[in-house]
């Protein structure tokens, strides 16, 4: 049910175009009155309860994916959809400059990192395109992004004493992938306005911090890994392929803007580390630890869009990278109804033994992961590609395991449900802000909803 490609097949542009448009059609089903919603699953924690709009990093991939479609086709409807998403962010901006419900797995909290910076990147890139078109609405988009950058990211998160961005206002940990996202946002601001001060004052120290967090051990398999977080001078000893990949575009952009070769070298070494741990099927382990041990699960599927995008970046520097195994891994996760599986192995996080049936969280398509696949796939389209018409089937059903029970996952354009033998375990009517829980079901089986 899940896949439609064999590894023997070539990943043609047509297939990639079809996948991008399928995802686009599915994303449209996830829109509510105020934006893109839906449950969230993550390595850190899940959030199946809040399902309202999340003004978090999903907007980065959605808006930039639409801009890629517009760039490659010239079709105005993609630009209009990017603008529609940009308006979601403007409407959801608080007087403080923060975005409403910007904490992804911790929604509906606000002040999420790196989520708000990711929204800023999207707004600024969209503003750039609109300005090129002579559309004056670019100014309001740029102003919203700057308001967030100035009043929250630079005012609250920047620690002038150590010249690093904090993880959160109350947590001084330096988190390289978050700093990288902020650096990208500030570079986008500098590109748009010509203002260089933010580059020298914030971007350069941040990229220096990322380089410092990188393992330099030429004969070790860990060479090139970037620690997930650094508190004082102590790292966490955890290296995530996905998060390391998110540092690479910022490092290479930093190199292009400043000419500092250490950034380019760090990016290339980071990619070498990622590829060293790539599995034969194109997937990546979730975490590699300082002691050399590996935590394989969950292996991201939709999220590898960002790893593939990082591969595209390093290829521009003449580095031989073969994306095909990971492209296959990504495409195998596509559902027939257009969504894309989030991961493989959520049910094996503690035991590290692969299970037979997929966990419901594996199958669950999440806007904040699917956007990464969408952005990558949309970026592969070229002008001459014929864009096929996409029609999603009315519903899709898949076997899964939910909280240890065999269940059925069902999704249509209007609802997402998980059903056990004795009734519903989870139900979300698309467009609503909270999942539905049937009172009373908790008495027999504990909780019917996470």
């Amino acid at each position: 049910m899940r896949g439609f490609l064999s590894e023997a097949a070539d990943v043609s542009r047509q297939v990639l175009a079809f996948a991008a448009l399928q995802l686009e059609a599915w994303l449209d089903t996830m829109r509510g009155p105020d934006g893109y919603g839906g449950p969230v699953v993550h390595w850190w924690q899940d959030n199946l309860l809040y399902t309202g709009p999340g003004l978090d990093w999903r907007y980065e991939g959605i808006i930039l994916g639409y801009l890629e479609l517009y760039r490659s086709t010239g079709d105005k409807r993609w630009l209009e959809k990017a603008c529609r998403a940009g308006e979601d962010l403007l409407r959801g901006q608080l007087p403080s400059g923060n975005f409403r419900s910007s904490c992804f797995e911790a929604n509906p909290g606000t002040g999420g990192t790196p989520h708000e910076a990711a929204c800023d990147i999207a707004l600024l890139r969209l503003a750039w395109v609109l300005r090129e078109q002579g559309d004056t609405t670019w100014e309001s988009l740029a102003a919203a992004a700057w308001c967030n950058l100035r009043d929250y990211i630079l005012s609250v998160l920047w620690d002038e004493e150590v010249r690093r961005f904090r993880n959160l206002p109350a947590d001084p940990t330096f988190v390289p992938n978050k700093a990288a996202t902020i650096a990208e946002a500030l570079l986008a601001w500098a590109d748009l306005t010509g203002e260089r001060d933010v580059v020298n004052r914030y971007v350069v120290p941040s990229l220096d911090g990322i380089v410092e967090a990188q393992v330099r051990a030429p004969y070790s398999p860990l060479d090139g890994a970037i620690d997930q977080g650094v508190f004082g001078s102590k790292g966490t000893g955890r290296y995530f392929s996905f998060y390391i990949a998110r540092c690479i575009p910022a490092l290479l952009l930093g190199y292009e803007r400043t000419g500092r070769e250490s950034y380019r070298d760090a990016a290339l070494r980071a990619m070498a580390f990622i590829l060293r741990f790539r599995l034969p099927d194109g997937a990546f382990p979730q975490v590699v630890y300082q002691n050399g041990r590996v935590n394989r699960y969950p292996q991201w599927i939709a999220g590898v869009g960002d790893i593939l995008r990082a591969m595209e970046w390093v290829r521009r520097y003449g580095i031989e990278v073969s994306p095909e195994p990971t492209q296959f891994w990504l495409l195998r996760g596509l559902h027939l109804h257009g969504g894309i599986a989030t991961a493989h192995g959520f049910g094996s996080m503690d035991g590290q033994r692969p299970s037979g049936r997929p966990d419901a969280r594996d199958l669950l398509p999440v806007c904040g992961w699917a956007d990464k696949a969408f952005r990558y796939l949309a970026g592969l389209l070229r002008g001459g590609n014929h864009l096929p018409a996409v029609q999603l089937p009315p519903e899709v059903e898949m076997d899964c395991v939910f909280r240890g029970e065999r269940c059925l996952y069902r999704e249509t354009a209007t609802v997402l449900e998980i059903r056990g033998e004795s009734g519903w375990r989870y139900c979300w009517e698309k467009g609503t802000s909270w999942a539905r829980l049937i009172p009373g079901s908790g008495r027999k089986r504990g909780v019917s909803c996470l």
């Binding site: 009155p33 309860l49 998160l157 966490t236 000893g237 975490v287 996080m349 009172p439």
Partner: protein
């Protein structure tokens, strides 16, 4: 409803247990369908719950019975709650969010030394004025005792039962299994074994919510009661 306090500043989030409890509270209130009212003497709970209950487009279906969310119940809340319940029709519900006062070590919770996440002040604050002017015999007895400013869950449920509210469902957040795995994760992290710590965290996470019969040791408990008859 009491005045809404300022919510936490951006980027300062409740701990995982409270986040889950607040979200589950909102889900249960909206699932009930009617307009939601909030009573709580705990400013942190008010701040976090008020906007969750107001923020949904489904603010209450027409003609659906109301639901009262009573968070971190205290003696001082009794007059207001009793007054509201007087006007609640059959089919209406009371949802109680009960925080167990515990000095147990819970990583990520207030008062522990291993916090790496911003935490809520909820479980630390047990203050509250005693107010004896309440409706109902049980409420009056509780209110006039003046011994405990906070209420026990059993006392609350007994009092609600006298008002015609029967328990429909109960959910526990942060039970003994969750706390045990969390502690273990914390300890092995301190020993430098990040890989083992992550596996224990995954087990803790799988045990975050517990079923109705095992909520006794939970840090937070949600109980849904409904008025079946007057």
């Amino acid at each position: 409803m009491r005045p809404v306090s300022d919510p936490l500043p951006p980027g300062v989030l409740p701990d995982l247990l409270h986040q889950t409890a607040f979200n589950l509270c909102a889900v249960l209130a909206y699932s009930w369908g009617g307009p939601a009212r909030l009573v709580s003497g705990n400013p942190f709970y008010v701040a976090e719950l008020a906007w969750r209950l107001e923020g949904s487009p489904r603010k209450g279906r027409k003609n659906s019975p109301p639901v009262l969310v009573w968070a971190d119940p205290r003696m001082a809340d009794l007059p207001e709650v009793a007054d509201l319940l007087e006007r609640f029709p059959p089919g209406s519900a009371v949802l109680i969010l009960f925080a167990r006062r515990t000095r147990a070590f819970v990583p990520g919770m207030p008062g522990t030394s291993c916090n790496t996440q911003p935490v809520s002040p909820a479980a630390q604050d047990a203050s509250g004025a005693v107010d004896g002017a309440v409706h109902g015999e049980r409420a009056r007895r509780l209110g006039e005792s003046g011994v405990r400013p906070t209420l026990r869950l059993r006392e609350i449920l007994d009092w609600l039962a006298e008002q015609g509210f029967c328990e429909e469902a109960r959910y526990g957040i942060g039970g003994s299994a969750y706390r045990s795995w969390s502690r273990l994760a914390y300890l092995v992290e301190r020993l430098g074994q990040a890989d083992h710590a992550d596996r224990f965290r995954a087990r803790a996470r799988a045990a975050l919510l517990v079923e109705s019969r095992r909520t006794v040791t939970s840090v937070l408990t949600l109980v849904l009661t409904a008025r079946r008859d007057r």
